[in-house]
């Protein structure tokens, strides 16, 4: 195909991609713009595109009386603890589900997935009562425990496919190479599921960071994640849109950072060509 004939086609493709991207990015950009607007400009109708930007809302959500910094810290503790514990348990569990043969293997795989099918709202009251009984309402322990109930099955389910893609023979080779079962897992299997672990980390982190429903019901004055704090900008009298937007922008930052960090490790095709004729047996 000549360059002249290719050009219109490429332009059309870029236009289509741009259109789709703008639909996806619109709310984010809107929130970004709103966070720099004065309260008057926020409520202007029709919306104003040209305005004098202000950092007042950022100042307020970071250092003002309604600062969300303590809530960010709360979120960080809950999210990091949830992510770390999830991986700690999900990696061995997924490995076991992918490798070991035991009665009920298929059934347990389905059970793991089935826990994801329950609507979270249906669980709020039992969770509330359970945490109340053990005195874990409004505590990091309680919230992390509840987050684990949905992040763990999800992480296991996601990781199993990555473990299954590592050929069994590679592990057997490691056993014969005197690595032992743990050595085989550590030196041979885990490096190959790195991408999967990175993907899982991002998803679990994201879900825990952005979780609202459980946080607002099971949290309280001591444990109040940033999502709940932002919700408090919406009140009966008024909604502080600009502050809400500024808070959202600040809350987004760690997630974006994690995404960028993990992206480096999500290298596809690392195992391609290692074993002739593919791995699955």
């Amino acid at each position: 195909m000549t360059a002249r004939r290719r050009l219109p086609r490429e332009l059309a493709l870029y236009a289509l991609a741009g259109l789709m991207l703008s639909v996806w990015a619109f709310p984010v950009l809107w929130a970004l713009l709103t966070s720099f607007k004065s309260e008057r400009d926020v409520l202007a109708y029709p919306p104003v595109w040209w305005f004098t930007p202000t950092l007042a809302h950022y100042r307020e959500v970071l250092t003002g009386p309604s600062s969300i910094v303590p809530n960010l810290l709360s979120s960080l503790i809950v999210t990091v603890a949830t992510t770390a514990l999830t991986l700690l348990f999900a990696v061995p569990a997924a490995y076991a589900l992918a490798r070991l043969r035991y009665p009920g293997r298929r059934a347990s795989g389905f059970y793991v997935l089935a826990t994801q099918m329950l609507p979270p709202v249906g669980l709020i009251i039992p969770y509330y009562l359970a945490l109340q009984r053990i005195g874990a309402l409004d505590s990091y322990f309680g919230l992390v425990l509840i987050y684990l109930t949905f992040s763990l099955p999800f992480a296991i389910w996601l990781l199993v496919t990555y473990f299954e893609d590592v050929p069994l023979e590679m592990e057997e080779a490691a056993l014969l190479d005197r690595a032992g079962r743990w050595g085989a897992l550590w030196h041979v299997v885990l490096p190959q599921v790195r991408g999967g672990i990175a993907v899982t980390t991002v998803f679990v982190f994201l879900n825990a960071w952005n979780e609202f429903l459980f946080a607002v019901v099971l949290g309280g004055n001591r444990v109040r994640p940033v999502t709940v704090a932002m919700f408090n900008f919406i009140s009966v009298e008024q909604t502080q849109w600009a502050k809400l937007a500024a808070g959202a922008m600040v809350a987004m930052a760690p997630v974006i950072l994690i995404g960028l960090l993990a992206q480096r490790h999500i290298v596809k095709g690392l195992t391609v060509g290692a074993v002739k004729g593919g791995g699955r047996r």
Partner: protein, 359 residues
Amino acid sequence: MNAASGAVSLRGVVKRHGATTVLHGVDLDIAAGEFFVLLGPSGSGKTTTLRVLAGLESVSAGQVLMDGVDVTQAEPGERDVAMVFQSYALYPHMTVAQNVGFPLRMVGTPAARVEAAVADAARKVGIDHLLARRPGQLSGGQQQRVALARAIVRQPRLFLLDEPLSNLDAKLRLDTRLELKKLQRALGVTTVYVTHDQEEAMTLADRVAVFMDGRIVQVAAPRALFGRPATASVAGFIGTPPMNLLPAVWRGATVVVDGAGSAAVAAAAPAERPVTLGLRPGDLRLLADEASADRALTARVELVEELGDSRIVDLTVGGHSVKLRSDTAGELHEGATVRLGFEPAAAHLFDRERGGRLN
């Protein structure tokens, strides 16, 4: 490495997977330094036997002995064996040098010693220029060599090779086969090699164990395996093309093939009995018309396959297909009736029912 080490024995090894029995009591003695081939069609139990030796497969009954020591319950890593997998099973996230050095690093060998050993092993298999690459950047033949280097780097007492050449193209397979044999001779390490390719088995082995349906049917040196196959099924598996097998009646010192006449054999039957007559394609000759009729079988020429230095003639003898290898350049017409002879000593006679050898 101790030159006298590496003797391996299996005593009555049985392997069951649920209700199916994969190995029905395998007994085997492999001498130190021997190149021993496990040959058989797929599903015959040869790879399971290799995996039992490696410790990757537990046994349902029986014993595995290495240098007289019972290692039946020993972990794979405790047996001092190295294995080359059919898929090579290289570690994709490591460089070639890291792959080859892995078995040494796992037992805490100092880095300098690892490096020297890796360089030495790499040189032996001719991959010293590839040490910095990753497996994904190598050709199939190069990957195969890396797997080989990883096996020889720690000088184990036993090499296990599971169809290591099956993923190479035909030309490379022949070259590698030769190098493998030389390497084994040079290292003197006991080698157990699994293949379904009888030609590979014949060219490489000091001795071959032929597997059929989870049992060893014959253990012999290649020449003996070819010359005196123990059963009709072994006979039909060995040789290119394999031995012709015809139903016949053994009567006195002759065999009678229904619809094709009779021919002399070297041994006389104790009593008349139905047999399977085995004839190697290379032992058959086309006879001139004037040869005596009682020493020849009548055959019909179906097809002539020209190989250049020789030809394979497809014939029908009494309704059964028979192949003949001939290096004479005479004119042969498809559809012609010819007469077929063989030396009386060249006939192999097997029990028609059980397949066991009779002469």
